[in-house]
């Protein structure tokens, strides 16, 4: 029978020192090597099990590091009512590991109870804004905490969209009181795919709401003669994204930063090296932040 893993020092905050995504393939290495990263972020759904080795690893890692739970399956943007069963499982996990941060996506992955297992694009309409804001408010009320909402990469836009994505995200944050997890790579990918100015997007983000930044890699592909960037999260962060990250740091301050790498996993040391690069950029701007 497990005893709750608590560490009051970690419960409320995540340090400015960059974190890395926690993947099952690295569980043993993390415990053996104790990499000098600030924190870990785990995909919530990967730990919805009732028990077993993965959950044990997560609890042991949690005893050593602050933890963030990042969900992909709550489908907040769905026209369906809030998925109470999914939220119950998330709440149970949160009670177990006491994460410093809990986040989800400005996206949908289901409707009518059928799921697509992908992060699907929202039309940016008043109806969608009110619906997703209400669901986020409901989640925060039921979880008893603020959650962060992440911008996703997109490959299409709807003709019925009336609100630019950046204004939509800012409005979601201001109306629901949620925080923003700004994924700099997703922002860059969407800006290139839809020909908008990434810096303008940064300017539109309310400073106080941005509570976490993601950095990841992407892959260019050609579809029908047009180059698109695909958010593969399977490559190092590219130079353009590092530059955009620098601009984000300048605007938002030393916001906790996470290196995301979800596929074609490299050794743990590679992720740690990416985290070190993020720290170096932060320290160059904010020498006193620790």
């Amino acid at each position: 029978m497990q005893t709750p893993v608590t560490s009051s020092a970690f419960r409320g905050s995540v340090p400015a020192n960059a974190g890395i995504g926690l993947r099952a393939q690295h569980h043993a290495d993390v415990l053996a090597e104790r990499p000098a990263v600030g924190w870990f972020e785990a995909h919530s759904e990967n730990y919805f099990a009732d028990g077993g080795a993965h959950l044990d690893f997560l609890e042991r890692i949690r005893a050593q590091y602050p933890l963030s739970l990042h969900g992909v399956g709550l489908s907040l943007g769905s026209a369906d009512p809030l998925d109470r069963e999914h939220l119950r499982r998330l709440a149970r996990l949160a009670r177990r590991v006491e994460p410093a941060l809990v986040s989800e996506h400005l996206s949908w992955s289901s409707v009518g109870g059928s799921f697509a297992n992908d992060l699907l694009p929202l039309p940016y309409t008043e109806e969608a804004l009110h619906h997703v804001t209400a669901k986020i408010a409901q989640v925060q009320d039921l979880l008893g905490r603020r959650i962060l909402i992440e911008n996703v990469s997109s490959y299409l836009a709807f003709s019925c969209s009336r609100i630019p994505e950046w204004d939509f995200l800012a409005a979601v944050a201001s109306e629901s009181g949620c925080g923003i997890l700004l994924d700099i790579n997703n922002l860059y990918v969407s800006a290139r795919n839809h020909d908008f100015d990434a810096h303008h997007y940064l300017e539109a983000m309310p400073r106080a709401a941005v509570a976490e930044l993601h950095l990841a890699g992407h892959t260019p592909v050609v579809h029908g003669g047009r180059e698109l960037l695909i958010d593969t999260h399977s490559a190092p962060v590219c130079a353009d994204v590092w530059r955009l990250y620098g601009a984000a740091l300048a605007r938002f301050g030393a916001v906790p930063t996470l290196i995301e790498w979800d596929a074609d996993l490299p050794p743990l040391a590679t992720l740690v090296a990416e985290a070190d690069k993020a720290n170096a950029l932060r320290e160059a701007l904010y020498a006193d932040a620790a």
Binding site: G51, G52, A53, G73, S78, A116, D118, S159, C160
Partner: protein, 301 residues
């Protein structure tokens, strides 16, 4: 302007790979949806295809992770075909990708009901039980002092509960041997005789991982009886199904030499049996009669 619901229903249908129910509804994706997507240098259908491919890839990746033996047995092309068909026929109903595997064993059983690959469904069924055992809740071991305090006259009424990770698997095929041959090593598996014997397996998770044990006829009868669904209110006796008395009778019928005490002791020691309850109602007259006759029941556990 379309509603959010209208747009999402059309979108999900378009990327799920499912054909339309009737020709009158048109091809997938619908004209309605295609009109709602801005082209901007790339056809809406191609933009939708990016999401369709990604959703399918995520679905297949989850199946591959849960069914490595089937992947090995059937090969990549076969597996992808099965995965696509399953995804079209049974879209996921959960935001947890790990839940989709439950439909795969019945799908394979149907697909190969009449051909020489019937064992695929059985191997997949075992693989899914293995996943369930891996992720089941943990449980403290049985309170031996409390069990020792139970009066012998009440033994037959005891209802033992199995560790949450326990799964019982029976098959006409040697599914476990096939699974081991295809998962445990990268070497080319030796050919297996499908008639080499049926499985009667206990799956159980310990700190070392999920263990597999072939059970004797008596052990199988004993554990399957104990594992029978209980009513939530243990004070209500629904016949004596699932009770120690019933399990003992079933095991003895399967094997007249069944040594209940030794088996019980072993399963308690290994944390396969993790707790017990005792109904608060009086035993039935039939049980009273059984207790009066049986000598085994008064053994000190």
């Amino acid at each position: 302007m379309p509603t959010l619901l209208e747009l999402q229903v059309e979108f999900l249908h378009a990327i799920s790979g499912a054909p339309r129910a009737s020709a009158a509804e048109g091809a997938v994706p619908s004209e309605f949806l295609l009109r709602e997507i801005l082209a901007a240098g790339l056809a809406p259908a191609q933009r939708l295809a990016i999401y369709a491919n990604s959703a399918e890839a995520n679905y297949l990746a989850s199946l591959r992770a849960s069914f490595p033996a089937i992947l090995r047995l059937g090969g990549e092309e076969y597996f992808r075909q099965c995965g696509r068909e399953l995804r079209r026929a049974r879209p996921s109903h959960s935001g947890d990708l790990q839940d989709i595997g439950a439909a795969f064993p019945p799908y394979l059983a149907t697909r190969h009901a009449d051909d020489t690959y019937r064992y695929f469904g059985e191997v997949a069924r075992l693989e899914w039980l293995y996943q369930e055992a891996l992720t089941a809740a943990d449980h403290d071991s049985l309170d031996l002092a409390a069990l020792a305090a139970v009066p012998p006259a009440r033994y037959e009424s005891l209802r033992f509960r199995l560790h949450p990770s326990v799964r019982l698997f029976a098959s006409e095929f040697p599914a476990h041997a096939i699974w081991v041959a295809n998962v445990a090593s990268d070497a080319e598996p030796e050919p297996l005789d499908l008639r080499q014997g049926a499985d009667q397996l206990l799956l159980h998770r310990t700190a070392a991982g999920v263990e597999f044990q072939q059970l004797s006829a008596g052990e199988w009868a004993f554990l399957t009886c104990l594992a029978e669904e209980h009513s939530h209110d243990d004070s209500h006796i629904d016949g004596d199904s699932g009770s120690f008395g019933a399990a003992l009778a079933a095991a003895t019928a399967a094997d007249s030499g069944f040594d209940a005490v030794a088996v019980l002791r072993q399963f308690v020691h290994r944390n396969v049996i993790v707790t017990f309850t005792l109904p608060t109602r009086r035993p039935t007259e039939a049980q009273d009669a059984g207790i009066a006759q049986g000598g085994n029941n008064e053994r000190d556990l």
